[in-house]
Symmetry: C2
Subunit: 616 residues, 2 copies
């Protein structure tokens, strides 16, 4: 059926919506594709729903091509399976929780690992039943702290989530590779630039994991890549632990460094008052900065209200701790700032002068455990059992010498050697990554860019199957735990990304494969004969399977308004029936290139079909 602008539920807007920042988001609202219903929650208007369905169809076709079977789980789910896997608490405030009229606790599903796992457990019993890949395309819910950018990060959104079930790692690898190939096909069909990066596994558990990021300067994710093909989400970058070195310095010595609570003031004072013997100037990179944060762990059996843990992170003074990298490392715990009240309850911490000593792993020179034991711990704290966990950046080699806090206001210690004078509880991948850093791949240096996570493929392994007891009999009649993969595509988000990637200053420019229509027929003028001819062309096109939107608005709607709307809406081909009709010609315009050409009316249908690549 030809869609007619005269009755289409659509009002284009000349002004940008107040709450939109990204150009694609603004245009999706202005052109009448989506409407905000609540923060992070959108209505899909008729035009938008058409694009969404095309995106869904592409995803469905590629999932079915790798043998995926579609089903549909509910969005409203019981709590118990999510409790069994800890996600009920691990998801924290991101989970929409509901209490029903019978006081049963329920949730709106963020993803469905648990439900798929239980369904397979219920129905399958043998290795012969596997492999299996099942998927759904359905509303997901996450109570995002910062919903943003329209449909790019919503609180209700459509996701294709699929899950693979295999008897062993080889099977899982095969399912994973099949999904990887399918995702490449899907994102190629969407027609935006993307990159496949190593991913952090986050709260999902499991091991191998890659993300498909749409490359976009407005993306929320940062990724790195080098010349060798290595690419990783910044959260997943693994900086190798630096090889040990020989510091070649004398014993550590504490020096007065008054009023040096910052790295900058410290370096200035070191160069002024404590120049190095070899004449090299001190830089921030010579200092060890010990950053304190507060982890908020989710509830567990021992801590029904959750619990808070201070954490100290040692990084070279010329680097910051990267909040997202840190969050990824400590998830499901959340990271909060270490506040004045926290310092108050840890009087051993001299703010601005914190060193490994007070963190409990220094040498006698800077820490005397006996002495501190005599002093005793602050009220209500055990000590030293409750000593603050101290993790070092991997770039700090064994044997390297540092200037760092001496745990007294106005004092630093110089030539403190890692391994000789202090140790830590381990390493943490939390320091910022910079453009030009050596690549962890060992080849060249890193470049940084931004992207939007569009897909995620994930070897979950046995985490969920173990928690929920999904086992099958193997060839020898022994029960073995099934190994799972989980794979997601952001379907509503894809519409947002395609819009961000396909527009110009006057409107959207849809790639053909997801455009709401194939051709936008514009009646440019008032003559009855124009309407008749346009109607006729639209009907002929529809009869050939071409999807047509016809701007048949009469009355006061000028050709100028119609052209503006056509450019805003962004159907790839525009067919103008205007004053040329008197000479037997109509105009075909390419929305993307702006090219126009006149064709005889009688050739218009064939010309449009050639334009859109229709065959037969």
């Amino acid at each position: 059926m030809v869609t007619r602008m005269s009755s289409l539920f659509l009002r284009t807007l000349r002004e940008d919506p107040a709450d939109a920042e990204l150009p694609g988001h603004k245009l999706l609202v202005r052109a009448g594709y989506v409407r905000r219903a609540a923060p992070g929650i959108y209505t899909w208007l008729p035009l938008g729903l058409r694009v969404l369905r095309k995106v869904e169809t592409i995803v469905r076709e590629e999932m079915e091509a790798i043998g995926g079977q579609e089903l549909a789980f509910p969005a409203l789910l019981p709590k118990e399976p999510y409790e069994a896997t800890n996600r009920w608490t691990d998801y924290g405030d991101n989970l929409f929780r509901i209490v029903d009229r019978k006081d049963a606790q329920m949730l709106l599903g963020p993803t469905h690992e648990e439900m798929f796992c239980l369904a397979v457990k219920d129905m399958y019993t043998s290795y012969k039943d596997l492999p299996l890949t099942i998927f759904q395309m359905q509303n997901k819910y996450r109570d995002e702290a910062r919903p943003r950018a329209g449909v790019l990060r919503g609180r209700e959104f459509i996701m294709k989530d699929s899950y693979s079930f295999d008897i062993d790692q080889a099977g899982l690898q095969k399912a994973y590779d099949a999904h990887r190939d399918a995702y490449i096909k899907i994102f190629d069909r969407f027609g935006f630039e993307y990159v496949i990066v190593q991913a952090d596994s986050g709260a999902m558990g499991g091991s191998a994991s890659e993300e498909f990021l749409a490359v976009s300067p407005n993306g929320e994710d940062t990724f790195v890549r080098d010349e060798s093909g290595y690419a990783a989400n910044i959260e997943a970058v693994e900086i190798p632990v630096a090889a040990p070195v020989e510091a070649g310095v004398g014993p550590a010595h504490v020096e007065d460094t008054p009023d040096t609570p910052t790295i900058e003031t410290l370096v200035a004072q070191l160069n002024a008052n404590h120049p190095r013997a070899d004449g090299r100037g001190w830089t921030a990179a010579d200092t060890l900065k010990n950053v304190l944060v507060m982890l908020v762990h989710p509830a567990d059996e021992e801590h029904p209200q959750g619990w808070r843990e201070p954490l100290a992170i040692g990084v070279p003074g010329d680097r910051e701790v990267d909040a997202k990298r840190l969050e990824a490392q400590v998830a499901p715990a959340e990271v909060e700032a270490f506040e004045e009240k926290d310092f108050a309850s840890h009087p051993e911490l001299a703010k601005g002068y914190i060193g490994p000593g007070v963190l409990g792993r220094g040498s006698d020179l800077i820490q005397n455990l006996e002495e501190r034991d005599e002093d005793g711990a602050p009220e209500g704290e055990k000590y030293p059992e409750d000593q603050i966990r101290f993790l070092l950046d991997p770039s700090i080699p064994e044997g390297s010498a540092w200037v760092t806090g001496a745990d007294e206001p106005g004092k630093h210690v110089i030539d403190l050697v890692h391994g000789r004078d202090f140790t830590a509880d381990g390493r943490i991948q939390a320091a910022e990554i910079r453009e030009g850093d050596p690549s962890p791949s060992g080849t060249g240096t890193l470049t940084l860019a931004r992207g939007v996570e569009m897909g995620h493929i994930f070897q979950l392994g046995t985490k969920y199957a173990e928690a929920l007891g999904l086992k099958v009999l193997d060839e020898n009649g022994k029960l073995v735990t099934v190994t799972m993969g989980s794979y997601g595509v952001g379907v509503t988000r894809a519409v947002g990304v395609i819009a961000e990637d396909n527009h110009d200053e006057v409107g959207l420019v849809w790639p053909r494969q997801v455009a709401p229509f194939d051709v936008h027929v514009v009646v440019a003028g008032k003559g009855e004969e124009l309407f008749v001819a346009a109607d006729d062309l639209a009907a002929q096109l529809e009869a050939k399977g071409v999807e047509v939107i016809l701007d048949d608005r009469a009355g006061k709607v000028s050709p100028g308004v119609k052209f503006k709307d056509a450019e805003l809406i962004g159907v790839p081909t525009i067919l103008v029936v205007g004053k040329g009709l008197a000479d037997g010609v109509v105009e075909i315009k390419d929305r993307r290139t702006g090219e126009r050409r006149e064709v005889p009316v009688g050739d218009a249908v064939a010309a449009v079909r050639a334009e859109i690549g229709a065959t037969a």
Copy 2:
């Protein structure tokens, strides 16, 4: 793509699920169409999803045929619009309510009148924009007190809801009629028996309203019909008020009737001790039974916690109050039993002997207001302003004489005449309706039957548009309130109803138009050549657009098991490739009739296509 049983995510069950009562529900679970995820919440397995999509397509096609435009509102909605129309409270416990991380109150949409109304308000301004019909097909949520019968009454379910917007009643009537016609087409295509009945408008407000009920002995709704074509949901039956009569009895007189708290004991004692002068025996129909219930009204501005109101209903002693009819009349208030504690706080009520006197509207004979005022009202109650509301059944004519309670234990009053000796506050349509009752249409008598509500069409009028301020300019440039209609089809429920209506003792028997597949090809035997031939036939059929499920299970799955599964699954045509193949024949079986016939292999594709009505 041919669906293969060897890899299909399906396990048929030989046993009925413990929680299923209706045969269709049992079979949908046993045949692997749906799975229960939580009470009233179902997963659609691959087979079920295929049927569901076909049902959706039928509904979508008919909605588009009447000019309906599809869009998709979110399921998770803000509270405010629902507060503006009072549905936030009127829906009571049926609404799933959520508090998000920012303490905003939200809900899962039960229907979307408010959201559609606001969208139109935002986008449209003039009568020229109307008429408009927009619809969606999407998950709805209702926290039913008694979810039942699988997908027949779920708490998460798919509904097609459409809304019409018009400038006047004539437009609304046209949209209503168009929907009525579309629904007739939809339900005809579903292929179950249904009836269109007058409906009660319930909590929705508005006026004209009809329901499409699938006729089913297991339905939750009761409806009536007569020979003239009149049909109504029992909740919507309007019994005409009986014409006044002349009782021709003397003054009312109170008599001792000890130990007669029930109608039965009363009638016995009347006949024994107080025979009528004319010799006619007393029957229950001569008595006036005054039934007390407690209404629980939802919160409003004056009563933020809601409020409770006692209500007395006077019905002839041979009828009960019908709970559903009463609930429909008093909605959004809910009905609770009048309990001992309620009697305790109303000491004026003599349980078993309650009459119109104490209800405040009797003559001096049975009630002395002055006397009661001296006694004073119970603590905390105003009196007589807080007198209990008393409503009479319409079958009780003015002028009729009754035996009823005298408001003292062991006493009744005889010859109490309605209008002469007592009055009520009004009428209520709450008495039970019985088979054989005279029809309110004036023609013949009523028959009763049961059904499942499958569709509801509703002239909402201006209720929502007024509450939310949806006005447009009319032809004269004056703002007028838009008039709305709302129209629903239970989509997931339709699958359940079709299953209830289409099965036999061994399995489901799908109507072709919603069957998950067109043909079920069964390999009945172990020979490799059977598999090759079946594969080939399946591929040929698929190439012709026929949807095929192929039972290619090898190993220990016997032909008997395969036949059982095919009958359970219920695809209308079964093609058996078995031992006849050696003689060049295969068997075509009609699932519904059980008829079988052999056809040469070479003719099988054509024969199957003829069977399923394929053309070209």
